[in-house]
Point group: C2
Chain length 322, copies 2
């Protein structure tokens, strides 16, 4: 049976970058895309903050460039979805939706995370046209505009405060009458003149204007069930992220659904590395994911070089002893 050098699971910036680096290192990597090629980037209308593109570029275009570059150096890409992994034996086993069973000496996990959705009318259609899940990414587009923030946790308030640098007004809509956020974040948000709170309220829909972008939201008071419209050009939704890590549950060290890595992208199992948002709950940028994909790939190279001299069990014993 063929044993792969490295299987990369996931096709966001971290995965394609890992493909680029491991293929340039002549490792002939196999990349399994998952269901959505490009991950969150593919759903991003315009990316202005990936270094090297001064005029910005559409997310799908960046994904295409990353894929082309990885393929140029020999990354083999399969449009397949991993359904099961066994990391307890080595070579590792990877099984897929298309019925393939692979053996591989190393694995790079870059399955990403998905922002939790409100699942209301308008949300999906207007993503990238006023609906956003990242203030750092998109705040700049909303200078002197009125925006709505949905959520009541630390990240909602932090991103809401960040948005006050751009927006003329930030309305935070929260379904309860108090905030889950930490005291310090609550204080900062409540004292900020640009921020207004609407309590006990959820979004019933996000509504487009004539230009096809967000023009208003329909609010629903959860106590009175009263509906009303609020004009807004931006809707930022911060109700959490769902890391795509079910596959690894019980096999890798994880925390809150995220894979635990060290600074150089090693998981707790030698030969298994992780990069991108599946192990980063904090920065979540294309630029940080490509950096992490690079590190994971270079560390994979080192691991495979070590494996030429030593049995896997020796490497494992050394790591356990370290």
């Amino acid at each position: 049976m063929t044993v792969e050098n490295v299987i990369i699971i996931g096709s966001g910036p971290a995965g394609f970058t890992a493909g680029l680096y491991t293929s340039r290192a002549q490792l002939k990597p196999l990349l399994l895309t998952g269901n959505e090629i490009g991950g969150q980037v593919a759903l991003t209308y315009e990316i202005e903050n990936y270094p090297g593109f001064p005029d910005g570029l559409p997310g799908p275009e960046l994904v295409e460039k990353l894929q082309t570059q990885a393929e140029r150096f020999g990354t083999r890409i399969e449009y397949d979805y991993v359904t099961e992994v066994d990391l307890q034996q080595h070579p590792f086993v990877v099984r897929t939706q298309n019925g393939q069973e692979y053996r591989t000496k190393s694995v790079i996990v870059s399955t990403g995370a998905t922002p939790r959705k409100l699942q209301i009318p308008g949300e999906l259609e207007l993503t990238g046209r006023g609906v956003s899940y990242c203030a750092t990414c998109d705040g700049f587009f909303f200078r002197n505009k009125e925006v709505v923030v949905v959520g009541g946790g630390d990240s909602a308030l932090e991103e809401g405060l960040f948005l006050t640098r751009f927006a003329s007004k930030v309305t935070i809509v929260h379904r309860r009458d108090e905030l889950r956020a930490s005291k310090i974040m609550r204080k900062r948000a409540l004292e900020n003149e640009k921020i207004e709170f609407i309590w006990d309220t959820v979004l019933a829909s996000i509504n487009a204007g004539e230009n096809g972008a967000v023009a208003s939201v329909t609010l629903k008071n959860v106590k009175t069930e009263e509906l009303r419209d609020l004009p807004a050009e931006g809707v930022f939704i911060f109700i959490g992220h769902k890391p795509n890590g079910e596959l690894f549950s019980g096999q890798l060290a994880m925390q809150d659904g995220y894979i635990v890595t060290n600074r150089t992208m090693h998981t707790n199992i030698p030969g298994v590395f992780a990069a991108g948002e599946i192990q980063d709950n904090h920065f979540r940028q294309v630029a940080t994911s490509v950096g992490q994909g690079t590190m994971a790939a270079m560390e994979t190279e080192r691991f495979l070089a070590e494996l030429e001299d030593k049995r896997y069990e020796e490497i494992k014993a050394e790591m356990a002893g370290a």
Copy 2:
């Protein structure tokens, strides 16, 4: 006196990326370039492994893109060289060659590192035309070619072994008759069929062919002083890097000349962050440096937000207690 929000010291990928992110966050950063705009990238003939450019691009072109993008969002760039910093008082003090004295609430250090040079004829002129200081970056260009590696430490052997994936032959030239490298690396290199060692020998010059690229090296035996030519299309020089960190000596925690950072680019002084090769002796890629520049910038934003609520001394005391 004006107090800057953030001063970025250095103009490589980490510095310009920090400029991009802090300017998009409306912090109006000031970037002081240092003597060489773009750092090592500016001296790179062709970059194939920065994700997003499937056809590769010349180093100076990437530098121009990074600079344009940082400026587009309001990064102020000064062509000036920092001669002195005082990080013991806050706001910090930064003094320059042009006689400026700045005060700033935060600093991002991205002064980079410089590969040590042999300082022989042909080295500078042929850099990027066969002379390289990075096997990960440039090895792919030397498929089925003969290359020379200079050095006898772990990194020389590791990069030499990496080059055997591409080159038809790798000749390691070392000025002594034994290797400083670790036992395991020595064993691997000595057993590799593509690697040959030439002992007690240094390079006297690197010589161009008619196409203007490296065609041979002139070797000099240090015991007999005998000179001879060896054909080679690539010369990889691994005799160490010099981090550009003298400015911070005695002020920041450092190790072997590199600034010590935690995983999110904090130094040991609150409000001072570092990114890129000044704090990374290991990966040294454009992709990792932009990731680090992004992290340093986002952590700077958080620090400045915290500074709106608290006195600097409080933040410092909290950090010391943590």
